[in-house]
């Protein structure tokens, strides 16, 4: 498994953008879980979630069409 340094700090002797293997990390006294949890490294090949994944589709609401105005005896004073 390979990891990429995403930290501003030097991690196990490597800089931001450099690749590290698990054995590199262990031999430098690091712990993979800790470095992942603290945001110093990420798994190589891990890409950020696509926009399509992050945007939820809004449920389509059926719009009621306005009813046609009905001219009847209740709203037509002149029709009394």
């Amino acid at each position: 498994m390979e990891y990429i340094v995403i930290s501003n700090k030097k991690v196990c002797g490597k800089f931001n953008g450099d690749k590290l293997t698990e054995s590199d990390i262990i031999s430098a006294g690091g712990q993979v879980e800790f470095l992942l949890a603290s945001g110093h490294i990420k798994k190589a090949g891990q890409t950020p979630k696509s926009v399509k994944e992050t945007i939820k589709e809004e449920p389509q609401v059926q719009k009621e069409e306005p009813k046609a105005f009905v001219f009847n005896t209740y709203n037509n004073e002149g029709d009394k």
Binding site: I25, G29, G30, A37, S38, G39
Partner: protein, 153 residues
């Protein structure tokens, strides 16, 4: 030998170089003192434990070294930004973490720039410390689990 003014000490904690946020480091070792005085055995004792000298004017206690107690003290400049001090130290609390300190940051260790490696127990942390107008710092003293190894090559 040349004296040294510390300006570029390298501090690595859990594989992460935090030197630019550390203002002070103290690495110390203290041996337990075990008394070995026995009746009739109060003369001068050499490194091998053998009585080397003639009888001394007055009886004296004899001692030997017991277990060594190592510890390290760091003074951090607190920083809550991503992958900085808080993000690095907080997940390590309560665990034993590999640390390394070297007088001058360099690719390799040498006899004149040794690298000290040890495992410290991150037993204390002060995330917020300071008065109004002061720099936020965190001073910690962590006991070391096991020996300190000194690399010179």
């Amino acid at each position: 030998m040349a004296r040294i003014v510390l300006t570029d000490v390298e501090v690595i904690i859990g594989g992460v170089t935090l030197s630019d946020h550390v203002a002070s480091v103290t690495l110390g070792s203290t041996y337990d003192i075990i008394e070995t005085t026995a009746f009739g055995n109060t003369g001068q004792v050499g490194p091998t434990g053998a009585v080397t000298g003639a009888s001394v004017p007055s009886a004296a206690r004899q001692r030997t070294a017991g277990l060594v107690d190592n510890s390290v003290t760091f003074e951090f400049h607190q920083d809550f930004a991503a992958s900085e001090v808080e993000a690095t130290i907080y997940p390590l609390l309560g665990t034993v973490v590999a640390c390394s300190v070297q007088p001058v940051a360099a690719a390799g260790a040498s006899a004149t720039n040794p690298q000290y490696n040890f495992f410290a127990l991150a037993s204390e942390w002060t995330p917020l410390n300071g008065a109004v107008g002061e720099l936020s710092t965190a001073s910690v003293t962590w006991p070391i689990s096991g020996p300190i190894t000194k690399a010179v090559s």
